[in-house]
């Protein structure tokens, strides 16, 4: 292994693809006759297969959660801050499974896959998948790996919603549900932002009603705009100030806006990019649009919008948790305005109402919704200690 790989990295990792020939009936009633799931794993599965942790990804995530794909790869997996030897999700103790969800665009069956019936890309014909469908497919993957019970199912944001679904639908298949920066369902504001994102994609002239791949193109502008809007909701006001300003007083003294790009020293008085935050958003949008499929983005935002496990229980989420015997750990972040702490507290209160065992922490953090991806000391410590407790439990049972 190269010297450039840090000691607390899982190092070089290789994705593996699992093919499933069993048909999967989706919540919509549609059936996927066969599908692939791509996954990575980190750490070693113990003899009685009791130390496995499932990682559920968020909106734009995939199976590549930790480590690197080649020594020249400058960018580790999306949750490398939390997964690795000695990290919060300690790969010295746990066998960590991370997959790309159905409908994704990183290797699992999704809109960019070839539809065996038409021999063309699924595109807009790929069925709408829900969080429930994902949990169902993850259960099939679990069976394939020979795991009976997850030590923990873990996820942030949309990933946290999958964790809740696991606890509701398959309570005897997990010991601990760790749900970070999530919500019991989306607010009207959340859905509104998603709709703006979807509208920007579908109104791009290159969208071609979702069949852009057949036309050899893609809705770059729409996808960029969708990501730019999304990105704003992931950051807090304070995180943006910190990122794009010198100090607050610097700007106040000059009587200008935050985010002013001081390098140029003057304003264009036109509609060019004058502010760092503008160029940052353009860069983020641009990079994202080159790596992410527009139809997948539409699907993922719909999965978010449709998430509400209380629908089967007269709108009472506490009833949904009636059989959820697993233990719960929730965390939220003070400046997260996408899924603020109040939303996590709603879940906590419904868990308490259902008589469940819950641990809940509210972490002071400037980073907004994105905080769950960052190595914030209090967050990482609590996370690590909680998983230490989980490991103690499985070790005690083994002894």
């Amino acid at each position: 292994m190269s010297n450039s790989i840090p000691a607390d990295s899982v190092g070089l990792v290789k994705p593996q693809v699992h093919h499933f020939d069993e048909p999967l009936t989706l919540r919509s009633g549609k059936v996927l006759p066969a599908f692939d799931l791509v996954m990575e794993s980190y750490g070693e599965l113990n003899a009685n297969k009791s130390n496995a942790i499932l990682i559920c990804h968020a909106l734009s995530g995939d199976h590549h959660a930790a480590g690197i794909h080649s020594v020249d790869d400058p960018k580790p997996g999306w949750w490398d801050a939390c997964i690795g030897p000695g990290k919060a999700i300690d790969t010295n103790l746990f066998f960590v499974v991370s997959l790309n969800n159905l409908g994704g665009c990183a290797g699992s069956t999704g809109p960019t896959s070839i539809n065996p019936q038409t021999k063309k890309h699924f595109g807009p014909d790929f069925p709408v998948v829900t969080v429930r469908d994902w949990a169902k497919s993850q259960l099939m993957l679990m069976g394939r790996l020979g795991i009976k019970k997850w030590a923990a199912v873990v996820g942030g944001s949309l990933g946290g919603m999958q964790v809740l679904r696991w606890a509701i639908s398959y309570p005897d298949r997990l010991r601990h549900a760790i749900c970070i920066a999530a919500a019991p369902k989306l607010s009207a504001q959340n859905i509104a932002f998603n709709e703006v994102a979807r509208h920007s994609i579908t109104s791009d002239p290159n969208f071609h009603e979702g069949r852009y791949l057949e036309q050899g193109t893609y809705p770059k502008q729409g996808l960029m705009l969708a990501r730019m809007v999304g990105h704003i909701t992931y950051l807090s006001d304070s995180a943006m100030r910190a990122k794009f300003g010198k100090t607050v007083t610097d700007f106040e003294n000059e009587g200008t806006n935050f985010g002013r790009d001081l390098r140029s020293g003057n304003l264009s008085f036109g509609f060019n990019v004058d502010f760092q935050v503008e160029s940052y958003l353009h860069y983020q949008g641009e990079r994202f649009s080159e790596n992410f499929d527009a139809n997948t983005y539409l699907l993922m935002t719909k999965a978010l919008d449709y998430f509400d496990p209380s629908v089967d229980f007269d709108g009472d989420l506490s009833k949904a948790f009636a059989n959820s015997d697993c233990k719960f750990m929730l965390m939220s972040f003070s400046t997260d305005w996408r899924f603020p702490p109040e939303r996590s507290r709603e879940i906590v209160n419904d868990l308490l109402k259902a008589g469940r065992q819950v641990t809940y922490l509210e972490i002071e953090a400037d980073a907004g919704h994105d905080a769950f991806l960052m190595p914030i000391p209090r967050y990482v410590n609590a996370f690590s200690k909680y998983l230490g407790r989980v490991h103690k439990e499985i070790s005690a049972e083994q002894a």
Partner: protein, 201 residues
């Protein structure tokens, strides 16, 4: 085992549901969990304590008691504990009402300000008592609502709360016959086992 904790443990039924308000590092709940197999939830606001609870394998929720307990259902626990936290609350009387709404039984422990040491300190020096046991100055103390055994008895009477048992111990958590005879004068820590009384006609 600290004698006061042992006294409290005696009042807890095995396998019951216990809510600890201001659970600190979770050591009491850990003890009850291991010795009585209770189903436990602790509430705490101090970050260091919360981490210790997690290490102790105790379920803990970050929640400020001064914002009330409206998120807890009535009669959802068997016992609610309030150990050495009463004096730090903004509205201790309201929290006690809430305790006995959430569980039939409550256990309250607090430093007894009627203890002779406090009385002598105040009488002789004319200043608010400071000791190893209560080390803060009046201006920076988290303990904003000190009371005496007599005060707490009066509150229980006023609220029609039934006192099932009352014990006092010293700062080493030991009790003796003299403390039993003169609890408000000799006791340093008061330990109450309370329950809902009959509603006043």
């Amino acid at each position: 085992m600290r004698p006061d904790l042992e006294i409290i443990a005696k009042w807890i039924k095995p396998g019951s549901r216990v809510l600890d308000l201001g659970c600190g590092d979770g050591s009491l709940l850990h003890y009850l969990k291991t010795s009585k197999e209770v189903l436990e939830i602790g509430l705490e606001i101090d970050g260091v304590n919360i981490e210790r609870c997690i290490e102790n394998g105790v379920n803990v929720i970050e929640q400020n008691l001064d914002q009330g307990l409206s998120n807890f259902q009535s009669s959802s626990f068997d016992t609610v504990l309030l150990a050495q936290t009463l004096q730090a609350l903004s509205n201790p009387h309201e929290l006690i009402d809430d305790m006995l709404r959430i569980a039939k039984n409550g256990i309250v422990t607090f430093p007894n300000f009627g203890n002779w040491k406090s009385r002598i300190y105040l009488a002789s020096r004319g200043r608010m008592p400071v000791s190893k046991f209560m080390p803060h100055q009046w201006y920076n103390t988290p303990n904003i609502h000190f009371c005496t055994v007599k005060d707490f008895d009066a509150l229980c009477a006023e609220k029609n709360i039934k006192v099932l048992a009352r014990t006092v111990v010293d700062s080493q958590h030991q009790g003796n016959w003299a403390m039993k005879a003169w609890p408000n004068f000799l006791g340093e820590i008061a330990i109450y086992h309370i329950t809902r009384g009959k509603p006043i006609e």
